[in-house]
Amino acid sequence: MEISTHNFKDNARKALKNENLQIAMKRATKTFVAKREKAISSLDNFEDLRNYCGAIKAHTIEYLDHYLEEFIENLESLGVQVHFAADADEANKIVTELALEKNVKTVVKAKSMVTEEILLNDALEAIGVETLETDLGEYILQLDNDFPSHIIGPAMHKTREQVTKLFHQKLGTKEDASIIELTKAAREALRKGFLKADMGISGANFAVAETGSIVLVENEGNIRLTTSQPKIHLAIMGLEKIIPRLKDLSAFLTILPRSATGQKASSYVSIITGPKKQNDPDGPEEQHVLIIDNGRSNVLADPKLRDALRCIRCGACLNICPVYQNVGGHAYGWVYPGPIGSVLDPGLLGLESTHQLPQACSLCGACGEVCPVKIPLPELLLEHRQRAVKQGLSAKAEKAGIGAFAFMATHPLVWNSGTKIARLGSQFLSREGHIKGNYIPVLKEWLKERDFKTPAQKSFRELWRDLKDEK
């Protein structure tokens, strides 16, 4: 997808007017939030687990060089070929060269956010390699030339009616096909792809340093197929996916599915350790792991933002966020939307093109409360806002307004007379109890995203005085 993080305000405005999106978002986020709450409340030690998983991730990131090296050495001793990419271009070059070298005609892909980040599908299609997304949500998006709007429910911005129509056009299913029939049609279409694919590309939910294992979590079985059927398996991962030990996994696998989909356990967890062993009846003969930086070491070098790299991509902060619930993922303009995107995107892409994202937040704090690895999201959002102001990235009119406010607030005489004039003046701008500031340049911009109630005619102090006089 083309990056449009600088355009959040316009994107969000369009999203609020998109009827299908509004229907889909209401249906989906409500379900996600309720399911998560139920699954979390069935655990009596969720806080302990959050503390533990947060601490493990924080520790791993603090000593990431050590754990990465351990992980890489273990991969190499398993016979896995390990590749490294500083950025998206290098990553795509490595994958396309590998595909050409191995004479790959068809690739099956499991859902992976990092491959969305680097636009891998475009790079593979450009060298003539057929690339099939096999996660149902991703497959829907690929058929529609669309891109994900949610970390774990990539097509959740689409209504069932839209998917039914799309499948009717592209796969020839009935005009009124049920969700079961749609799913069956996708299974049949993709099964052919699995059986002919020469290479399977997956992401990684976790990478275990101690064993050199890639851990993948899913419900559909497409990841098992991607990593089992083709003769080459390539796992692509961001450098922050490491956890130290195998035994740490059970804590992460207890909180991840509960936080993500509200399940006690995902249907399949695959712990992949090296390619097929000599006596294994089946499995890939070759395994490759590509580790990608793409801006992450910048985040790592920033001690305040580093915590954002703990993220295990559960999506809980998206679902609970009142802004995300209303505007959906596309408005954020890149692969990582919602609160975590508003924290991570400025780290990965730079604040200049992304400073609108941390502004799209009411500071309600819900994201920080649900995060299973205790990323201090509200604090990091504020940190970005402060930096944006310091770097002079905030809107000029807003800056002038805040300057005027600061002057008034520190000068009582100006404040008293000023607020009185404002109260009186605002009555003229008021329509149905709200201020319409279309004629005033500074207010116009500010009021575009905000409802501002007409102030009462008298201030609290004045009312108090009157009340005392009456007595």
Partner: protein
């Protein structure tokens, strides 16, 4: 980028040197284990059925074989695939439908399990007996023993000496909720999963 430069970049971002000490990672909390686990068979049954698995408890291996035949005939399966698990060897010899030439053509896949996790209703499948027989067919039958039950994932992982190339924790049938979060069973992997437990 080569490995040395990649690691150098990470190290310099963290202001660390190659041989700087690393303190031990925080330790696992005892509370993540489920110590008050009740009857493991009952717990497995409850959790496995909650994710739409079908559970059958039998007394002997012979009964397990009979149950498998019954399921196969009810399913009107034409051919089967199987893993190389020892436990099922004699059972599959008695199956009255042919073994599929290709696993992808089989209607039913038969296996045992490496172990079972009671508190989530999970089958642990591992690659040394084959991956595709439990993956490609739309219907999976697992024949297991109650002694293979472990209370939680923590115990299952603890007892591993060396990891197989693929260790898969399978919990119920394949599912998706990618269209409006509506649960749909049976996407790419088996949509029907039966466990026949000898216990």
């Amino acid at each position: 980028m080569n490995k040395a430069n990649f690691l150098k970049q990470v190290r310099s971002s963290l202001h660390r040197n190659a041989n700087d000490p690393v303190p031990p990672a925080p330790n696992l909390l005892a509370t993540i284990k489920d110590f008050n686990s009740k009857d493991l068979i009952a717990q497995f049954k409850e959790e496995f059925e909650a994710v739409s698995g079908r559970f059958f408890l039998v007394k002997t291996k012979k009964e397990a074989g009979e149950k498998a035949l019954e399921i196969i005939s009810e399913a009107k399966a034409k051919s089967f695939a199987a893993t190389t698990d020892k436990l099922i060897k004699t059972i599959i010899n008695k199956i009255d439908i042919p073994r599929a030439d290709k696993i992808s053509e089989a209607d039913i896949g038969i296996s045992s399990a490496h172990c079972l996790i009671a508190n989530t209703g999970t089958l642990v499948l591992e690659s040394s007996v084959g991956r595709l027989a439990t993956l490609l067919p739309a219907h999976h039958i697992a024949i297991v023993k109650s002694e293979q039950l472990l209370p939680t994932m923590a115990e299952a992982i603890e007892q591993v000496d060396s990891l197989p190339s693929a260790w898969v924790q399978a919990t119920g049938p394949s599912r998706t909720a990618d269209i409006e979060l509506t649960l749909t069973i049976g996407v790419h992997a088996p949509g029907i999963v039966d466990v026949i437990m000898i216990g």
